[in-house]
């Protein structure tokens, strides 16, 4: 069979790292081809080469057997290659329509012609069931809808080779199912799809073949139907990975944190984003707040951690009302917070790793004495944490946080928050975008903490994580807790229905 796209012996270097090392990848027309690999294996880089964002140092690309030059996205577009990027490339203050036509505008008499474009986008969206409001601003729509915009962008350009770079990382199970359906439909129309994901079950579900990369090198291509998930993950990591978390039953203790009738109003739209929420977390349990992104969980966490003042209700920790305490006081009283956005809140990227590891402690002795920072003590402590938590970086505690890989940045935050030995640990999407190895590690750490009698509030969109890790599940929908579930008795499908708001439960 002829290949529609062949990437032959691609080598791409970045300063200090060979991201793609002599990689060959062949796509058959009409297949869904999965690309698997750990964080930093070079998947996005390879795709960026195919899409014309990067120029490889070595290697050639062929389409239908003919060598083609792809120097920029215009070239790839002409060749019918489209890409949904891992980090969406959407202009936040543009409308959906503007984003879709950007770069492929039609112009008459110097004027942008949006009418015709609007019609054809509308048609596309109906045909593939990609529901979007084309006049909404990107900033105002959900992540799921943003993804649909990205897909529409490709379809609008009539691309026939579609690259999806980790499209499911940000979707709910229902949305993932929908996406899979759409992908299958697209393939049935003769389009070819390259699909990047860390989730093996998804590969199992839709992909025909799967290529695996490891540390920039090509490991091999397998037929998905003939390969088990364990085999694939071993190819990817180079060792056996434990996909299930082993944990003992929870030994719960006192109530550590209690939230009562908490309400939060959005400052701009004045809509209720958190509505009369009450729950408690006990020592020795992991309570999971499950929900689709944008249902108030971020605001709820901000209120608990002090980044935002609630409009009504109280928050107690260890029996003390902390609703109006400043953030530092809460930290001092034993609250830890692994934030949702590691670059926005979690790290000062221009500080080095050592400085970041003492972000909530620099003012305490011995890191500080009479107002002066004690560098040696800070680095000593940092090195200790780096060792203990296996945080990898080029220059140890002196590495700029900015230059660290996402996975190791996340490890640093986890290390910092756990090492403060909190009574109450709030972990928001602690494994987002990480590879299985890193996920395994962080999950193990969280369970360890629980077993040491910490109260843990876990906020996650990943159903597997929710099911595996939690002792109790609270489902949040449109700012309200709509169900309190036991992970041992509820099924993933059911959980999905609660999260989507189509089912409400008894509140325990």
């Amino acid at each position: 069979m002829a290949y529609i796209i062949e990437m032959c012996n691609i080598t791409k270097e970045f300063p200090g790292i060979v991201a793609n090392d002599d990689i060959t990848l062949q796509l058959k027309k009409g297949e869904i081809h999965a690309l698997l690999g750990e964080n930093g294996a070079g998947k996005s880089t390879l795709m960026s080469v195919l899409f014309g964002l990067y120029q490889p140092e070595k290697g050639i690309i062929k389409k239908n057997g003919e060598v083609v030059r792809i120097e920029n996205p215009n070239d790839s577009n002409r060749l019918g290659i489209g890409m949904v990027h891992q980090h969406f490339k959407l202009v936040h203050n543009f409308t959906v329509l503007e984003n879709i036509i950007l770069g492929a505008e039609t112009v008459a008499g110097g004027r942008l012609q949006t009418k015709a474009a609007a019609d054809s986008v509308q048609k596309l969206s109906e045909r593939y069931g990609l529901k979007v409001d084309i006049h909404a601003r990107i900033a105002d729509i959900s992540v799921g809808m943003q993804q649909r915009v990205e897909i529409l962008k490709m379809l609008y350009r009539q691309n026939e080779i579609l690259i999806f770079d980790e499209p499911t990382a940000v979707l709910t199970p229902q949305e993932i199912d929908e996406l899979m359906k759409i992908m299958k439909e697209l393939v049935s129309e003769g389009k070819t799809i390259l699909f990047i994901t860390h989730k093996l079950n998804e590969i199992k579900k839709v992909a025909d073949r799967c290529s695996v990369l490891r540390k920039g090198k090509y490991i091999g291509t397998v037929t998905v139907a003939d390969t088990s998930m364990e085999e694939m993950s071993e190819m990817m990591v180079g060792r056996k990975v434990n996909l299930m978390i082993e944990k003992n039953p929870a030994k719960t203790g006192d109530v550590i944190a209690r939230v009562q009738e908490l309400s939060i109003r959005n400052r701009l739209t004045h809509k209720m984003v958190v509505n009369n929420v009450s729950f408690e977390v006990r020592a020795g349990e992991i309570v999971c707040l499950a929900g689709i992104e944008g249902n108030g969980q971020s605001e709820l966490v901000y209120a608990i951690t002090g980044l935002l003042q609630p409009d009504a209700g109280t928050i107690e920790m260890n029996g003390e009302d902390i609703t109006h305490l400043p953030i530092r006081k809460r930290n001092e009283k034993g609250m830890s917070h692994i934030p949702e956005d590691r670059h926005k809140h979690g790290l000062v990227l221009d500080f080095n790793l050592g400085f970041n590891l003492v972000l909530q402690r620099y003012f305490r002795e011995p890191f500080q004495q009479s107002g002066f920072l004690q560098y040696d003590k800070i680095y000593e402590y940092a090195d200790e944490l780096i060792g203990k938590f296996d945080i990898r970086s080029g220059r140890g505690s002196r590495t700029d946080a900015r230059s660290m890989s996402g996975g190791n940045q996340q490890k640093a935050i986890v290390a910092r928050e756990i090492d403060r030995n909190p009574d109450f640990l709030i972990a928001v999407q602690p494994t987002r975008g990480l590879d299985v190895g890193a996920i395994e590690y962080i999950h193990r750490k969280l369970v360890e903490e629980r077993d040491q009698g910490k109260a843990i509030l876990l906020v996650s969109l990943e159903l597997d994580e929710v099911m595996n890790l939690s002792d109790r599940i609270l489902v949040i929908y449109e700012g309200e807790i709509v169900a309190s579930l036991d992970p041992k008795t509820v099924t993933v499908q059911e959980l999905g229905l609660y999260m989507a708001g189509s089912k409400r439960g008894e509140l325990a």
Binding site: F14, P15, G16, I17, G40, K215, T305, L307, P326, I327, R328, K329, R330, N331, H337, P339, K344, H345, G346, L347, V348, L349, D350, F351, F355, L359, Q360, Y362, F363, Q368, G371, F372, L373, R392, S393, G394, R395, T399, S403, M404, S405, N408
Partner: protein, 386 residues
């Protein structure tokens, strides 16, 4: 730790320094071209005046320090704010209100004992400057007002307010400027006038240069060595993360602007209390020293110690440019040269890259050996240094 020259050459600080140096060389070269074009016969002598004018005699050397004093202060003001993520373009206003406060105290509070009079005047300037910095700080922290525009507004408000107050309180109507301050309010010469003298004409340099240097060192220590500096920098680099960490980021912004203002205000005092016979003119023109601090800070890479050096360097060029008049050149050449230097210092990042790439190339065999050794030990080679 023992100082290793080799390690220093490989360090970031060294490449930064080299890139500034290269910018200076390019700037001077273009300056020389300008001289050549405008008056070939005198170009070499004129250029000599630029390069060595500040060194021709002790007085000129003293003048270098005298001119450096206020621009070091406004440079520190800008650089300090910059390090904490703020763009203080309001030094002009802070400078002039500081100058006014100092002059007011210097003229009016003559009952103060001699040795404290000038110090009180400096304090007054510090406070006035701080106040002027405080306003944009508060607006930024609590009302999200872009500090650039707030600072520009405060510059003009400061200028008009000072014009009004000078006329109301300390006006020398014969000269349309502020009255001379009392002798006790003049910053002591600290013997510098005996050292930096040529013939019987002493330089205007005074203890102000020590105060400026001290200010630079203090700012360096505060930013780099203290917990307070850690907080300010954290806010500057990432306001959200600072808040997350429990740092009161609003307070930090306000304090940071106030300190920047205080530095500029102090600069105003150091100039107008220098005893060089300078008075505040009642004109609707912003204090140029406020803007001159920006290039000084940028050339010094916003580092307090860098600013000390670059302030002295710019002053050195200024003195050279003044002397260049002997060879029939317009002093504006100096401004052109400084502008070109600043322009090329903007390329620092790229130059730094070149320098580091060059050094690396030289080190290649060594590095590769090291890398091999390291690879054997660890599975993942993370953490790019660049």
């Amino acid at each position: 730790m023992k100082f290793s020259w080799k390690a220093y050459v490989r360090s970031d600080a060294f490449s930064s320094f080299m890139s500034s140096l290269m910018a200076i060389v390019v700037g001077l070269f273009i300056g020389f071209l300008v001289l050549l074009v405008s008056n070939p016969s005198q170009a070499v002598r004129g250029f000599g005046a630029i390069l060595f004018g500040g060194l021709t005699d002790m007085k000129n050397l003293g003048q270098v320090f005298y001119f450096a004093t206020p621009i070091i202060m406004t440079g520190l003001s800008f650089g300090f704010a910059n390090k904490t993520g703020l763009f203080n373009i309001g030094a002009a206003g802070q400078f002039i209100v500081g100058a006014y406060a100092a002059v007011y105290v210097g003229v009016k509070w003559t009952s103060l004992p001699g040795h404290t009079h000038w110090m009180v005047a400096l304090m007054a300037a510090l406070l006035a400057g701080a106040l002027w910095g405080l306003v944009p700080g508060i607006l930024k922290a609590y009302f999200n007002v872009n500090e650039v525009i707030a600072c520009i507004m405060m510059n003009y408000i400061g200028m008009y307010a000072v014009n009004y107050m000078v006329v109301k309180t300390v006006f020398d109507s014969l000269r349309n400027q502020s009255l001379r301050v009392a002798a006790t309010a003049v910053i002591p010469k600290a013997g510098l006038d005996k050292l930096f003298i040529t013939g019987n004409s002493p330089s205007s340099v005074n203890a102000g240069i020590f105060i400026a240097i001290l200010a630079g060192i203090v700012i360096y220590v505060v930013l780099d060595k203290t917990r307070f500096g850690y907080e300010l920098k954290a806010c500057g680099y990432n306001r959200d993360a600072a808040r997350y960490a429990g740092i009161n980021e609003k307070r930090s912004i306000v304090l940071s602007m106030a300190i920047a203002g205080a530095l500029a205000g102090l600069g105003g005092a150091l100039l107008y209390l220098a005893g060089a016979g300078k008075s505040i003119e009642v004109v609707d023109v912003l204090a140029i020293e406020g803007f001159n601090g920006i290039p000084v800070a940028l050339l010094g890479l916003s580092h307090p110690l860098g600013i000390l050096l670059s302030g002295i360097f710019v002053a050195y060029l200024t003195v050279g440019g003044f002397n260049m008049q002997l060879y029939n050149f317009v002093p504006q050449v100096i401004e052109i040269i400084i502008a070109v230097i600043i322009y090329f210092s903007a390329f620092a990042l790229l130059l730094k890259g070149f320098i580091q790439a060059y050094l690396k190339k030289k080190d290649r065999p060594l590095e590769e050996a090291k890398a091999l050794a390291a690879d054997a030990g660890s599975t993942e080679k993370g953490g790019g240094v660049e």
